[in-house]
Subunit: 292 residues, 4 copies
């Protein structure tokens, strides 16, 4: 081939395969969304349209990539998780992260008009996202990652809800509200909301307090006693050697059949994981009767 003189440049491409048998989380973040939320008039502290658009885009990513077993979104950020047994794209980091970032962006732009019918996108200021891949060596640490994001959601949302209530309903300046909130703990903020504005934070919408959890829906299982659960999770369900290509294809096919649901629930406690063992096991569950 006449091309050979220059083809040596391919040797500069370095491998970026992620360690086998680890959880892979791809977290994407909106680029410059602070400025962007002003430009497009996002409602404070939470713009329901913007969150629904994030979730809709994430659902499409889950549908296009059946290897994904969980996604969790808050604000302008989304975490997508691949099971340790995942072999997609031979676990090449850049391939995994760019595929998710690009697919998410495509749907976000495409679906924008559905969620913001009166606010057209402006060239020169299109939304975009960056992302990265991180490995977690076992289910417990993976769950700690997810807990970290949900705790962050809670902390940020309580702060933002209090801050914007003080500004919007209390007529305070941004600076004064910020000043007063400095150093406060959760109970202080709950108190401000309740005493001054009659707001019970517990009654706020779950999507704001808990974020959005996406997963494939199978028949829920009864919660199991902890010890049994741990054993199943760590020992039996994650074989060391990778599945064959045909096994992988079969599992992908089964996953495509399951519906992707958007939930706003606690993912810190065990119950969520115990009732949906297919997430940590990586093995598809039983389809609900109605979906068969």
């Amino acid at each position: 081939m006449a091309n050979s003189k220059y083809e040596y440049v391919k040797s500069f491409e370095q491998p970026d395969v992620l360690l086998p048998n680890t959880w892979i989380v791809i977290r994407i973040d909106g680029r410059g969304f602070h400025k962007l939320s002003d430009r497009y008039g996002f409602v404070k502290p939470n713009d329901r349209r913007a969150l629904d658009l994030m979730n809709a885009a994430a659902v499409e990513v889950m549908k296009e990539l059946p290897d994904l077993c969980l996604a969790y979104g808050i604000s302008d950020e989304y975490s997508f998780a691949f099971h340790p047994s995942c072999q997609l794209f031979e676990r090449r980091s850049a391939k995994l992260v760019t595929t998710i970032v690009s697919t998410f962006t495509a749907y976000y732009i495409y679906l924008w008009a559905t969620y913001f019918p009166d606010t057209p996108l402006q060239p020169g200021g299109l939304p975009s996202f960056d992302g990265r891949a991180v490995m977690y060596p076992n289910s417990r640490i993976f769950r700690d990652y997810m807990s970290w994001r949900q705790v962050d959601c809670h902390i940020n949302n309580l702060y933002n809800t209090t801050f914007w209530t003080m500004v919007q309903q209390g007529g305070m300046s941004n600076t004064d509200a910020e000043q007063e909130l400095k150093g406060t703990v959760s109970s202080d903020k709950n108190e401000i909301l309740f005493q001054r504005f009659g707001i019970n934070y517990n009654n706020e919408e779950e999507i704001y307090k808990k974020g959005s959890v996406l997963y494939r829906q199978y028949q829920l299982e009864d919660a199991k006693p902890r010890s049994e659960f741990s054993k199943a999770e760590d020992e039996e369900d994650v074989p060391g050697a990778p599945a064959s290509r045909s096994q992988q294809d079969k599992i992908r096919k089964l996953r495509r059949k399951a519906q992707v649901v958007v939930d706003h629930v606690d993912i810190i406690k065990d119950e969520f994981w115990e009732r949906r063992p297919w997430i940590l096991s990586g093995k598809p569950g039983k389809l609900p009767a109605e979906a068969k």
Copy 2:
């Protein structure tokens, strides 16, 4: 902060800073564009609308990221180049590659209707792109990379032009055309085009034969003798120590002022680079009189 119990998971994020003082090329590729070009009825062998859309999206990427000094596109692939002196995002690989992939995707989807007014996008089949970052240690190897892509453009386009002419004008089946072209060299294909179909390949459009080169437009310089050029390129223009943040900002500002042009020219020979020394030097040139 109440968050601390889970925050240790941040320690699993591994650094991915690219080696300083190397050229960074981000190459993105359309995902499944073979199938996608069927779905949306792309014209064979080259769909001008699709190429113009690729170029339009790439121009926007160049505008949003003034650190980019060159881009080169063929078919459903685009290479974006950062100069060795680039410090953008502290040269973090995932950040660079996802920002480009996402921005490109956003504009590709957003501008689709402009270039395909009669062919709306279909949910479930949105275009998306993957990408990767590669380092090249010096200008010569970087130019060899660019030459590699342009030679590839030539080889593919000559093949595709001949193949589709045999099918579309010659009434051959795909299999027969493929069979006849097996083992042929360039001159054979030129001959087939000329003898059977009266087509002089040299008269084909430059955008198909050369691909698309994007760069910032400054006043062209006279071509310099080779030895002088090399010295300037390798020795003086790429200082080892990084520029200060304020210098970087100043250079970015100057780059934003220059127009991004789309060209279809030879980038294998020296002339292109000698007349546009700002590309390899990383230093903005003089703005053309009319653009000031």
Copy 3:
């Protein structure tokens, strides 16, 4: 500091921190030991002096680096294992692997004369070792690694024992022996040894059949039922968040007190690990009464 003009070159040093909470195995191999064993007249198939020297050097490595929790040696190769909780040298890969390779080499050369009193080292042909670090995400895969090495030991030793018996006692040429062994399975080799030479392979020395296992000696525990064992291993004993520096120092001190023993036992079955739970847990056990 006058040095600053050149100090920017430090920015080219790239981080190489290994993923937290994974097992780290440093495997070192003799460089050109085939040739070297000829030069120094190693006995075939196994030179006890050479193996004892390897083990003596490995014991010193274990003593100098209390963070090591296990080592396994066969032939001219040694695997050293750090527990997932290990924070030594901030888990920098090059630092860990070079420290072990250098310390091992130093003792190998220093102790040579003890084990080869009549065979002085020759300048221009000194023994040396290369090495690499590999991560294993959980205890099961780590044990599979160890099993892999011990199975390799068995396969190689059975082959070598049969081959050299055929040559040394059977008077066959190397080529003929190699030819006859091609395609044989274990039982064939056992048969050759027993039928032709009256050798029962099971009676060969354990150090040749099993390799050498090094670990710190604490009071052995009773073998536990499997389910309990797994739970302890995977769930409770490996906290996600790293230990504090003072905790690490305390553990190191306790480890230094334990004796490093050289054993030749099965490490594939559960029993070895169940009776020595401190290896997989990373927590020092109880010192034997006599050692207190």
Copy 4:
């Protein structure tokens, strides 16, 4: 093969190939040499026996690895440089760095008795070294690295010479000497040495002031004007595509013929490099008449 059940663990070994066409520097450092120099009674500020031993070990490393084109040593540290065209061990980082660290350590221990005939090594306190590999994308930056080390040598040696003279000849306590030197610049230290002790720092031995430079000796060339030199260095002598295996072997053979010399000269200015163009070009020069 019966081994297959566990062999999957090999998939956890991750590639670590260094970027092609970059300079590779392996820098090794003595581990805990501050304490070690006390234990073995090293003379302050410079122990000539210890430096000669370092150099002797480094010469053996250069001899065993003909791919090395330069080494530079100061105190208990040594930098070994591979040319960008080097293909040794397919440029695998761990293999390169451990081979050098292990070979160096082996000779250091082996040759110890030659340089310290009256100070035997003590088990439990053997010298060892760690190391790391760093890439430098071009000759200018590689030279800046070398300059950095030599400037460091000068700064440290001037400080140490002054400090130990104040202590040993001036009878000051360590603390007092340290206190007085705090904040002083080079001229201050020169002044102290000259005024108080009649020592002209310029007359100190070159090995202490300049460190030790190791390279293969060919016929020196006349110093060339700078512009010509740069061109040769950066453009012609480092082809992008790698040399064939037989070319590499041929070059290695030629290199083995050249003598490795230990020099104590300035490597910051151009002259050293211009007169020994084979170092930056990677091409063996002409052997000196007497060595043929």
